[in-house]
Symmetry: C2
Subunit: 185 residues, 2 copies
Amino acid sequence: MADVFIALVHYPVYNKNREVIASALTTIDLHDLARLAAAYDLAGFYVVTPLEDQLRVAQEMVAHWSEGWGAGYNQTRKEAVALVRLAGGLEGAVEDIERTTGKEPLLVGTSAAKGGRRTAFSEMKPFLHGENPLLIIFGTAWGLTEEILDGCHLILEPISGRKNYNHLSVRSAAGIVLDRLLGRS
Amino acid sequence: MADVFIALVHYPVYNKNREVIASALTTIDLHDLARLAAAYDLAGFYVVTPLEDQLRVAQEMVAHWSEGWGAGYNQTRKEAVALVRLAGGLEGAVEDIERTTGKEPLLVGTSAAKGGRRTAFSEMKPFLHGENPLLIIFGTAWGLTEEILDGCHLILEPISGRKNYNHLSVRSAAGIVLDRLLGRS
């Protein structure tokens, strides 16, 4: 299997009015995605934000659960948080993956919107067994900008349940995406 | 397809020390599970807590997004919150389903623990196409008590990713469970 990384992007993303913003970090997202990363045996989880105070918050959270009081209190949380990496931008995450794996990651975008260039979950198998690591990129707020999606090698098809409603939280959506790709073999 | 309901139980559940507690309501859980209920076309989402102040908080949240300021601000959130029902206990949820559907629901427990009586996701199809509505029950905190699980007709197998780590948030786990049962047909 290829190494799989995820990134949670706080900039650049859209707000409700489709303006490009830097969203605020939500610690519950970090915990939920870190736990998913542990459950699905991912190689790392990048928290991406250019805001220095937000990076500091993330850093404190990581330190609390990996070295501080929380490490003794909750061993499974420590195990999950150990997978968290901080990056000021998506490029930084990509460089880090290149440095640690020696290979260029395949950038896999996610979007709740349908579009021309979408890859079905069923078509992902060759990439999951390919040579290159995968970086699956999730957006916060109203989602990744077109520019980010355009720069991805692949964009996953949106999750469609039984209805034409696709406004899931990133906490639920990331779980479903990882489970569809890696959950049953 | 059978009508599918979900319940998020705040009592009785275990805490870290396996004591039976009533957990505090988390509004982010309500939003995330309501959105999953909308996406997977569920018939309803029961928030179960015996604590009256907590029921009041849930009621205010529902009112805010369904009638108050939030209803105009976010239409998709309104659509999701319309599926939320409040119940003081699991029995109340069951009675409500019996009253509205005229049929007794099949109680489907969930647990992160392996055990003797577990039903594989692949075995669920007959029930999803059966006569009776399904009530899929999720626990908060450290999970549903044995007593609740013993009272369920079925208990779903735990979600296993690629690793022996199954400490997912209920926000992620509920998404994965619903997607496995209803997401791809």
